[in-house]
């Protein structure tokens, strides 16, 4: 039987010399002959066959340990079936994981891209427009506005992949309240879902007045004032709750700079 030096065998098998030495150490591929004196490794045809199997399994992404196990237990593709099924499930899990991340990335990217285009309108004018009805899931609560973070996180966890669109807050108070405000963080949904502790329903559409507010939430007062004045002038009767749509707020990752926040304030008009 012809023998090949490690260099020759490397070229034949497509494995590097380093890798071959490593596989020898791991008992994954033991050379047919190791010269006593020099320690030189010599490989033969059967080594090559085994090397091909190893390469094939490696390309399927098996760990070396698994390959070792497979080589020990299997002599035929049929015997590998169980391992293949297992590996397939592993891969499908990995794909699912990555798919989920991509979805999250997409939603962040979309939000930021929208916000960017919104930012170009620097002057904020009051607009009259018509809102479409919208399906949302919300958590109504009493307390400080700044406590809404928890609610949004909870919405994120419970509704996850069903969310679609910008988060918003419904404000039920007629006057400004610091400590015991009555409000409802909510997110638009792509489809009807049930989730514990979350009220899912359709918000009515209709004619509304809207104002885009640039800057921190503490400054909402002035923008609300402008909206109310505008409504009074035209004798519009406004419908509770008002809506605050977070075009750009604290990001999913960074808190960002409140001066750069963009929020659209909306009031439906009673007709």
């Amino acid at each position: 039987m012809t023998l090949y030096s490690i260099g020759e065998f490397s070229r034949m098998s497509g494995l590097t010399v380093k890798t071959l030495r490593f596989y020898h150490e791991k008992q994954l591929l033991t050379p047919a002959l190791v010269e006593q004196e020099t320690g030189y490794r010599n490989y033969d045809k059967s080594n090559l066959e085994r090397a091909h199997i190893i390469v094939a399994l490696r390309e399927l992404g098996f760990a070396l340990d698994s390959i070792l196990e497979i080589l020990a237990e299997c002599g035929d593709d049929a015997d590998v079936l169980i391992f293949l099924e297992e590996r397939k499930h592993q891969l499908q899990d990995e794909i699912r994981e990555r798919d989920d991340i991509v979805r999250v990335l997409d939603s962040i990217i979309e939000t930021e891209t929208n916000a960017r285009s919104e930012m170009t309108k620097t002057i904020s004018e009051i607009e009259e427009k018509v809102l479409a009805p919208i399906l949302v899931g919300g958590i109504r609560m009493t307390g400080r506005y700044s406590d809404c973070g928890k609610a949004f996180r909870q919405l994120g966890r419970k509704l996850g992949r069903h969310m679609g669109g910008k988060a918003m807050m419904l404000c039920y108070d007629d006057e400004y309240r610091e400590e015991d405000a009555d409000f409802e963080p909510c997110v638009p949904l792509k489809r009807e879902v049930q989730a514990e502790g979350v009220e899912v329903r359709e918000l009515p559409g209709g004619k509304c007045i809207s104002l885009v507010h640039f800057g921190p939430y503490e400054d909402f007062g002035r923008s609300y004032h402008r909206l109310l004045d505008y409504a009074k002038e035209r004798e519009f009767s406004l419908v509770n709750p008002s809506r605050e749509v977070f075009i750009k707020g604290p990001g999913m990752i960074f808190k960002g700079n409140p001066k750069k926040y963009v929020t659209e304030l909306q009031f439906l008009i009673k007709t």
Copy 2:
């Protein structure tokens, strides 16, 4: 400003103590205060904020190096956009890779599962049946039958994901030839594809006689003999080339045991 011990901060941030120490070393998250004497780490609110960002980025699968870079360059989700896009492409590549492997796994699994059910029929009887036309890609060659391996590997590389069904060989010789046999390894295709060096065409369907052969290829002689006798008895006129469908041959991974090979020999009948 309140300070927290590493244990408290660990509970607050959801990062293990080990991880916090590691991030300190990597300068990813430097405690607000390190006591000179004891070396105790003390964290503050701003550390917590940074920790939240790190966790968020880590959940998106960013490497710590990238996180470090992002933290250095970005102060806002908008700044991260480029990184997010990049990460998304990475993920999509990873998904594609895994999808490809899953497809390969599926084809191996399918082949072996089919072979297994075929194996249960132990007696091989000559059958008359009707073949549907089938789209194939093939590489016609002259030489030894045993040289077909290269051709199949080439078909695998060039047609990859378009293949669907069991590989087969078309034999154009009227008599047995050792050295200069004329044959064509080919694979069924799901759709019309073009590939250099590969002839893609539809094999005609029609009535045929078929015999399932169990065992090594060297024993084909007897099975062919049985088919030819059967045809002569019934005065069937057979059409060249004959087809050898590899129900179970050398696996994609293991060469397997030739005694377990299963091949279906088919001859179309001239009508």
